[in-house]
């Protein structure tokens, strides 16, 4: 039988804290350097050292980015999970394992490749301090042998993984070569089921980056000048990347002056408070957090909504409620975020579905926040934020910042009559603000989270309160039209439609191809913002059955859509939910979809 080419799922099962992550990166970048599309997924524990961790690397010519359930190649280096890891591989899989693990009574439908990793490391790696980490490079060499990856690609992978540490190249290369040699000396006669071959044209202008890194770069390009945050997985790398980019692009090396303030706050309350204080004073300000932090930010979110202060809040979702599974992915904050605060509140929410959108929407968020003087949430998740994704190169922004309706000293000089902070003079429910420090006798106003009238004066007047709340509702309608429109791919004569958002996109794209091969076509609408676009109603109306697919238990988007649909269309909606904390696979969408299709309406 001929081996399959460039279509496989690799999985490394290791113990966290052992340094396997760099080895996995080397392998990933080595394969990517051959022009082969990759999709890495890291499933890791909330722990520093000693618990099981899995790294999955998917290789497809289609460039699929979703996780896949059953690996074709397994590297088993965790004795605690060895048997379970083995159960999950596909029949015919190649299983590379510590040679001491017993394969007696184990599956007979796979190929075993026992490697004495510890012994090889002990006898062949001279560097005592790095031996533990470098042991992982041995399996990179073995896998390269197995998949016929040229060793030059491994060398390239090492260089790309440690671009700033050329001193580390040789030691890593030597360790990888141990494994590569071991393969050729012991297993080269083995008939291969999977091989990798260099490709051209599939990865041109493609880059590998994490969503949080893309979001951080978006903040730089979007003109963010104040960021306040509190460490929390999986969002910490947003501000850590921001700090790294700031060192590169916002530091005047001659004077030491920094054109951004990045503050590690004492908690998420203070983090959002600082961002709001900065936004009030005119800076483009943001904070970044995850579920537990978002819960703490409810109070300040209400203030910024009601007092109308621009601020950008990244929520890199993880599993909740409470501490939940801190290192597993989810889309469970959607409904909570949309109305975050006590009292009547509705926020603008951006829903990036790709790393390129993490970058783009970070910039959009600052524009929208300034334009509508309100908090803008960017709802990403652990899968999108912390995994590397293959993406087209990011685009340099062509537009200047949209700073919204800010009256300067000159504007106030020209202005006749009264100026009121909350007066809707343009009829779009968006009012004018001034910044503290504006040198004009009429510039000042008083910002408060308590009841206020159009002139920003304290009031408990029922009429003033209701009028202001009505204007805020109208402002949301103005904003609705300015939010990123859904991405719609209509299939001719398709009776069914799928609606999804965020990182679920990768699995939907793949499921669509899979089902098409099985003769089932569907149209696809990807929601990219809340409030929902009016075009959603047309999409539902154009299809007989609509599947709303998302990564939470309760079907939160499904509920939000139903609330906005005319009653005669509500019955068309069906809900498919995935919520075990692992990134969703195409199969976990297509299977329930096919089952539900078998059920008559």
């Amino acid at each position: 039988m001929l081996p399959t080419v460039n279509d496989l799922t690799f999985q490394a099962a290791t113990v966290n804290g052992s340094g396997s992550q760099s080895a996995n990166m080397v392998l990933t970048r080595a394969i990517f350097s051959l022009g082969i599309p990759v999709a890495p997924k890291n499933v890791f524990p909330s722990n520093i050292e000693g618990l099981p961790t899995w790294y999955q690397l998917r290789v497809t010519t289609q460039g699929y980015q979703a996780r896949k359930g059953d690996p074709d190649v397994l590297v088993a280096l965790n004795p605690a999970t060895w048997r379970q890891d083995l159960e999950q591989v596909r029949p015919g899989a190649a299983v590379i394992h510590q040679h001491l693990y017993s394969t007696a009574d184990a599956r007979t439908d796979v190929d075993y490749f026992p490697v004495p990793f510890t012994k090889l490391a002990k006898t062949e790696i001279q560097n005592d301090t790095l031996r533990k980490q470098l042991t992982n490079l041995i399996y990179v060499g073995v896998v390269a042998g197995l998949l016929e990856v040229p060793f030059e690609a491994i060398q390239e992978g090492i260089r790309r993984t440690f671009p700033t540490k050329p001193g580390a190249w040789q030691a890593n290369e030597d360790a990888a070569r141990i494994g590569f040699k071991y393969w050729h000396e012991n297993f080269s006669a083995h008939e291969r089921r999977h091989v990798l071959r260099p490709l051209t044209g599939l990865t041109d202008s493609q880059i590998l980056l994490e969503g949080n890194q893309a979001a951080a770069l978006g903040c730089i390009m979007g003109g963010c000048t104040v960021a306040a945050w509190y460490p929390i997985t999986p969002s910490s790398s947003v501000c850590e990347n921001l700090a790294a980019y700031a060192d590169r692009y916002r530091l005047d090396k001659a004077t030491g002056e920094r054109r951004i303030a990045i503050v590690q706050a004492e908690d998420e309350l203070a983090a959002l408070g600082m961002a709001i204080g900065a936004g009030w004073a005119g800076a483009r300000a943001m904070t970044s957090t995850s579920g537990p932090g978002i819960s703490l930010m409810a109070e300040f979110s209400g203030l910024a909504y009601y007092a109308e202060i621009p601020v950008v809040i990244f929520d890199i979702q993880r599993i909740g409620p409470s501490t939940g599974l801190p290192t597993r992915t989810s889309q469970g904050d959607l409904a909570f975020i949309y109305t975050l605060s006590h009292g009547d509140t509705k926020h603008l929410v951006l829903l990036p579905g790709t790393v390129a959108e993490c970058y783009e929407f970070a910039q959009t968020a600052f524009d929208l926040a300034d334009r509508f003087q309100t908090p803008v949430f960017v709802l990403s998740d652990l899968d999108l934020g912390m995994n590397l994704w293959m993406s087209p190169q990011l685009q340099y922004p062509e537009r200047p910042f949209d700073r919204g309706k800010v009256l300067t000293k000159d504007d106030l000089d020209r202005l006749e009559g009264e100026w009121g902070r909350y007066q809707d003079v343009d009829g779009d429910a968006v009012t004018y603000r001034t910044l503290p420090g504006t040198e004009h006798a009429r510039a000042a106003y008083f910002t408060r989270g308590s009841g206020h009238d159009e002139l920003a004066r304290y009031t408990e007047s029922p009429e003033a309160y209701a009028a202001n709340m009505d204007r805020l509702a109208r402002k949301l309608e103005t904003a609705r039209a300015a939010m990123p429109a859904p991405v719609v791919e209509t299939a001719d004569s398709a009776q069914i439609g799928v609606i999804a958002f965020g990182s679920t996109d990768a699995a939907v794209v793949e499921a669509r191809e899979d089902l098409r091969e099985q003769g089932l076509e569907f149209s696809y609408l990807r929601v990219r913002a809340l409030p929902l676009s009016p075009s959603l109603v047309d999409f539902v109306a154009a299809h007989e059955r609509i599947y709303v697919i998302e990564q939470n238990r309760d079907g939160q988007l499904y509920d939000l859509i139903r609330l906005e649909l005319p009653s005669q269309l509500v019955g068309r909606l069906r809900s498919i939910r995935h919520y075990d904390g692992r990134p969703v696979t195409a199969e976990s969408l297509s299977r329930p979809l096919l089952e539900l299709e078998a059920v008559p309406v």
């Binding site: 880059i207 104040v226 002056e257 503050v263 936004g279 009030w280 910044l435």
Partner: protein
Amino acid sequence: MAAPALNHIGLARDSYKGVASTLCAGCGHNSITNHVIKALYELGVEPHLLAKMSGIGCSSKTPAYFVERAHGFNGVHGRMPSLTTGAQLANRKLIMLGVSGDGDTASIGLGQFMHMIRRNVDCTYIVEDNGTYGLTKGQFSATADVGSVQKKGTVNAFLPIDPCAVALTLGCSFVARSFSGDGKQLVPLLKAALAHRGTAVLDVISPCVTFNDHDGSTKSYAYIKDHEEELQDVSFIPYFEEIEVDYEPGTTTDVRLHDGSHLRLHKLAQDHDPSDRLGAIRLLEEGRSRGQLVTGLVYLDETMEDFATREHLPERPLHSLGEAELRPSREEFDALMGSLA
């Protein structure tokens, strides 16, 4: 009628007024508001550069009652320090004046209060301290003394948090205490606090006439008048006034603030050196054990860098930075994309 007196930037005292107070008649907070107005007027603070910050409570309403021509921000309960920190970072030119209360500072806001001090955010932070929750009708606050009796007769069993002591242990760069009824002491302290670059904490005992001005209260007018112990007779010389030489060795300390103004302390009974942090802590503790309120400038460190300076932020407001200053060039961006392949 004679024209009103103008300060050195040409403004009359009325320019520093706010809307009418809605607090109870006789409230100590109203006195503080008047002293704040006097201090800002005499210092010649540009109203448009002032940012009035507050949290929630009776005290936090007062920023509306002074300098209507300054931006104000009445935020959420106990979180004024974070809003102030953000605004200060965004625009270093702003003169941040925070007004808080004892509940807002010592209970719900204790964490933010402490971290603001730790960062030495450039702001004046006034605690209008009456030991009680006025707006919610007289519950004890965390600054109420043990044995303090509520109007309804309940006796407070818990040790008080002293904002000055907390500030001192955190290395706050300016710590002072005064009394709402003592303008002669409070006004110079306010001016010095405003001139100071860094966090200036001013704990101002301010009796609550409605809920906490009775015989059982340790924050009543009568109690404070009997138990106040002044550290110094304080006078403040702004940077634009010449200093007359009238030192009396051993009895007068002259402290130069960063902007060139001077704080002059005439020693009274105590011989307290405001640069001695340990001595300051001892002083507060001794005062507490004697049931006395030590007032005056407790501690001052003019050498500590404020937060925005330590963050190396530009002098001009961050909102004035444009695309060219905030985005890397196309070449830099392309190089970055190349490195991500």
